[in-house]
């Protein structure tokens, strides 16, 4: 019994480490295709980046704007009760700019774009389209993964900025409607509380999320499959993994800069 349990734990641990190493190797391959891919294919990659930014950022605005207004409002509403309306601006920066802004942006992108990228690349793999790209002498990692990496990462950074601005506006509306704190005082508190480190941390998190989402989703797409019925399982697994890794990155980056 003990042997079985220890063997099972060992095999799972080995499998997990092997998987992480595969992801690291795939990341290296994407970065190599990005920085040392040469001149070929730049027109296609540029077009694909613009398309990806449109799908991930522009089309997400109609959901991101109400979410950010509501999240900002809810946060300030709750903390106004707890803190007694003292230093709400600093609270807004602490909660929204440092933590919830990047992670909620990542979650919205995972729900919308990560699933779509996983489906698209998995479908291309199952239908042998990736092989067909190879038979034209074109590196599929270069024309599939590189534009998605740049597009999704750029989109998350932009969406994170939009989220933070609109959350603060949402928070300002609540401050104006239910507290005695003048809005200009609240915004002044926000302005004083926000530091370069806060903005830098937000951008680092957004870049890291974009990178990990692209790597995980395209990796799952490229891994060998044979049946269309595996698609649903693959998308589900990729989404859950993206969630998990984004939370881990969030904790690590926050710990590095704020502890």
């Amino acid at each position: 019994m003990i042997d079985y349990i220890s063997g099972s734990v060992g095999r799972k641990a080995y499998s997990a480490v092997n998987y992480i190493l595969n992801l690291c190797a795939f990341s290296y391959r994407i970065l190599k295709a990005l920085f040392r891919g040469g001149e070929n294919g730049r027109a296609i990659i540029r077009r694909a980046i613009i398309d990806q930014i449109y799908y991930t950022a522009v089309q997400a605005l109609q959901i991101m704007i109400p979410i950010s207004l509501l999240v900002g409002s809810i946060m300030i509403l709750q903390f106004a009760k707890i803190t007694g309306q003292y230093d709400l601006g600093k609270t807004a920066v602490l909660i929204i700019v440092r933590e919830s802004g990047p992670i909620i942006t990542a979650f919205v992108v995972i729900l919308r774009s990560a699933t779509a990228v996983t489906v698209e690349t998995s479908y291309m793999n199952i239908r042998n389209e990736i092989e067909s790209i190879e038979m034209l002498g074109i590196d599929p990692v270069r024309i599939i993964c590189v534009p998605r990496l740049i597009g999704i990462t750029s989109a998350i950074v932009c969406l994170f900025i939009v989220f933070d601005l609109l959350s603060i506006i949402g928070g300002a509306v609540i401050v104006w409607s239910i507290t005695n704190v003048p809005v200009e005082v609240f915004l002044g508190q926000v302005g004083k509380a926000i530091t370069v480190i806060d903005i830098l941390v937000g951008i680092i998190k957004a870049l890291a999320y974009g990178f990990i989402i692209t790597v995980v989703c395209t990796y799952h797409g490229f891994v060998e499959k044979s049946r269309i019925t595996q698609l649903a399982e693959t998308v589900s697994r990729a989404s859950i993994e993206c969630f998990f890794y984004c939370i881990v990155i969030d904790i690590i980056v926050s710990a590095v800069f704020y502890l």
Partner: protein
């Protein structure tokens, strides 16, 4: 004539449970050869074509393309060879989120960074001959299976490959249009390129092949030449 491809004790095996395998294949294709494959196992013949297209990696032996030994350690080492091979088979796919025209122009767009809409003459003639020239701006999912196969073949032909791998052209090319394929193979022969074709059409074999090989029990046996060739 120099060799276009040379396989030495080349052995490949399928990763899935399909059971396809080829062992100790010694095969040489010279420039200008039009080689037809005969087999009682369609799987093995298809597998040979995939092996020649470097889509299957060997566990033993070597593959020389125009005298250079291929390095199978990384797929990127094979891309420059794959660009010189035209692979037309049942498992070839067009890129589904691009139109047929965009598929035909993909190579040009990639290597020349141009967004021209001018298709290579040879591919355009093929599209016109097989009456898909009015379907160039539709997506592959909107094509019927025959037109899909023809479009895939046009994409392969548009790259002007040095080695053409063709699987059962009689399945998607009408008999009345076979003359176009015969002309294409004549051009390949005259230009010192090569082709390996899986076909059961005796007339087609008689007209085009200058070599026949037979696959039996996973091994290649050189066959006899067709008795007459036009």
């Amino acid at each position: 004539m120099s060799d276009l491809i040379k396989l030495n004790k080349y052995s490949i095996k399928s990763d899935d449970n399909g059971g396809e395998a080829l062992y100790d294949v010694n095969f040489t294709l010279r420039k200008g050869d039009i080689c037809v494959v005969r087999t009682d196992s369609l799987d093995n013949a298809h597998f040979l074509l995939r092996g020649l297209a470097t889509l299957e990696y060997p566990f033993e032996g070597s593959y020389l393309f125009k005298g250079s030994k291929l390095d199978f350690s990384d797929y990127r080492n094979l891309l420059h060879v794959k660009s010189k091979i035209g692979y037309v088979a049942s498992d070839v796919a067009l890129i589904s989120n691009m139109t047929v025209r965009e598929n035909l122009l993909l190579t040009k767009k990639y290597y020349e960074s141009t967004f021209t809409t001018h298709i290579v003459d040879k591919a355009m003639r093929m599209c016109q001959a097989f009456e898909i020239d009015d379907k160039l701006d539709v997506h592959p999912c909107d094509l019927n299976p025959l037109h899909y196969q023809i479009a895939s073949a046009a994409v392969a032909v548009s790259t002007e490959p040095e080695l053409l791998l063709l699987e059962r052209p009689e399945d998607f090319i009408p008999h009345s249009k076979m003359v176009y394929l015969n002309e294409l193979l004549d051009e390949i022969r005259d230009q010192g390129r090569g082709a390996v074709i899986l076909s059961y059409d005796r007339e087609f074999i008689r007209m085009n092949a200058n070599r026949i090989i037979t696959i039996a029990e996973g091994r290649i046996i050189e066959g006899s030449l067709p008795s007459t060739r036009v």
